[in-house]
């Protein structure tokens, strides 16, 4: 489960950006504080980043910074749940969540019903895991319940969803990041999703 890290210098070289830009984006909260990981190396203190997250984020900033001001960008990237709402019928039409999920978990809701962003997010996460073939329908139901019950408690704090299975028995956990976790033997970590990432992906789809 160890995340691959990239040092600040490698990052700047790879993306062709300068220190000034990086610090600027950090001040504007385009890059969250908890991604700056300090480690001591033989050349002294160095800063590292989670590689997949930071590369995706920088691509996103570079793509959008021509069209949007940095402040607008910050709104778009902030982990706060945005005020997007969507009707169930639109959700189906735009294929953001597959119809199987909606049939299974939202069949009793009328098609005019308006879902808030967090409900959309729960469906999205469930759909994502189902599509990846990592989870069964029953487990999906449990997941939905877990998210409904516990996700709002994190408010704006970043959190990860962990899905583990041992001897066929599955369970879910939500944890605030950054955190290190170790399991006993025989536990299989089926999936670990960053909810912050999911929020962003979903936001990208909705806009």
């Amino acid at each position: 489960m160890e995340r691959e890290l990239i040092s600040k210098k490698e990052l700047l070289d790879e993306k062709g950006i300068s220190y000034g830009q990086l610090y600027r984006w950090k001040r504007k909260q385009l890059i969250p504080e908890e991604w700056f990981i300090r480690k001591s190396t033989f050349t002294g203190q160095e800063t590292f980043f989670p590689k997949d997250l930071i590369l995706a984020r920088i691509d996103k900033i570079m793509n959008m910074k021509d069209d949007l001001s940095l402040d607008e960008l910050a709104d778009k990237l902030s982990p706060l749940l945005p005020a997007y709402e969507m009707r169930k019928s639109d959700l189906e039409k735009r294929n953001i969540v597959s119809s199987i999920v909606l049939q299974r978990f939202a069949s009793e809701d009328a098609s005019e019903i308006v879902y808030t962003f967090d409900i959309l997010l729960y469906f999205y996460v469930v759909d994502k895991l189902l599509q990846a073939g990592e989870m069964s329908m029953e487990e999906g139901e449990h997941l939905l319940q877990t998210l409904r019950e516990h996700f709002p408690k994190f408010e704006t704090k970043p959190c990860d969803l962990v899905f583990i299975r041992k001897m066929g028995v599955s369970s879910f956990a939500l944890l605030s990041v950054p955190v290190e976790m170790y399991f006993e033997n025989g536990v299989k970590v089926v999936a670990r999703l960053s909810m912050t990432e999911c929020i962003e992906q979903l936001k990208g789809k909705l806009v």
Partner: protein, 228 residues
């Protein structure tokens, strides 16, 4: 207008006031604010204490001010001594005197004439320092930085000679930025695009992309060009 809806706070003499959401705040004399305060403008003269956090768009402090919490400010001018026990966030910040911050600093433009002690790290867009006292901070990240020193009086030169610890210099562990222009700075690492190491600097390692200039009196361990 929104201005008139919020009450103003005026302190004259020796008084304690409670925190809260204010329009204009004006403190003359010895004023203490208990709790967090949000103000449209904050003007303090004399000895001021805020036992909480301060958020304001426009700040003007003369004299001594101590803030126990965090500060987030728009345009700010500080003449005198400012002590912040939390972190500092600001747009444009000008200090004539001394700034002490326990936490981190995030400022778009900082002009400093005097000295500073920042225990956290500094993330400043444009940083201009005119050293007139010691500057200490953990690390500096910026777009551009310029460090200069006021001409020393003979007395200051004598003190430096007797007690090198009190030399008027900037001490930090690393400086990273695009445009770096330093004088009288001691640091382990400087990383930047255009780097000028001026007189009186001691730097162990310089990593630059486009340009490096070193003053003959500066001491640098190693200058490395990186990138294409």
């Amino acid at each position: 207008m929104e201005y008139s809806e919020k009450p103003d706070l005026v302190i004259n003499g020796v008084t304690t006031a409670s925190g809260g959401d204010y329009g204009k705040v004006r403190i003359d004399g010895v004023g203490t604010v208990e709790g967090d305060i949000v103000a449209e403008s904050f003007d303090a003269n004399g000895m001021t204490k805020v036992r909480g956090s301060l958020a304001t768009d426009d700040m003007d402090c003369d004299g001594m001010i101590t803030i126990d919490g965090h500060v987030s400010a728009g345009k700010s001018l500080v003449d005198g001594l400012m002590k912040i026990k939390g972190s500092l966030k600001a747009d444009r910040f000008t200090v004539n005197g001394m700034l002490k911050v326990k936490g981190d600093c995030e400022i778009e433009e900082l002009r400093m004439d005097g000295g500073f002690t920042i225990d956290g790290s500094m993330n400043v867009g444009r940083l201009y320092v005119m050293l007139n006292g010691q500057g200490r901070t953990r690390e500096i990240g910026c777009e551009s930085i310029q460090v200069r020193r006021k001409r020393r009086t003979p007395w200051a030169a004598l003190i430096t000679w007797v007690l090198p610890r009190y030399a008027i210099e900037l001490h930090t562990s690393s400086i990273e930025g695009d445009d770096i222009d330093l004088e009288h700075t001691e640091t382990e690492v400087v990383r930047g695009n255009r780097v000028m190491i001026g007189k009186g600097c001691r730097v162990d390692l310089v990593e630059y992309r486009t340009e490096l200039k070193v003053h003959p009196s500066a001491k640098i361990g190693k200058g490395v060009k990186i990138g294409g």
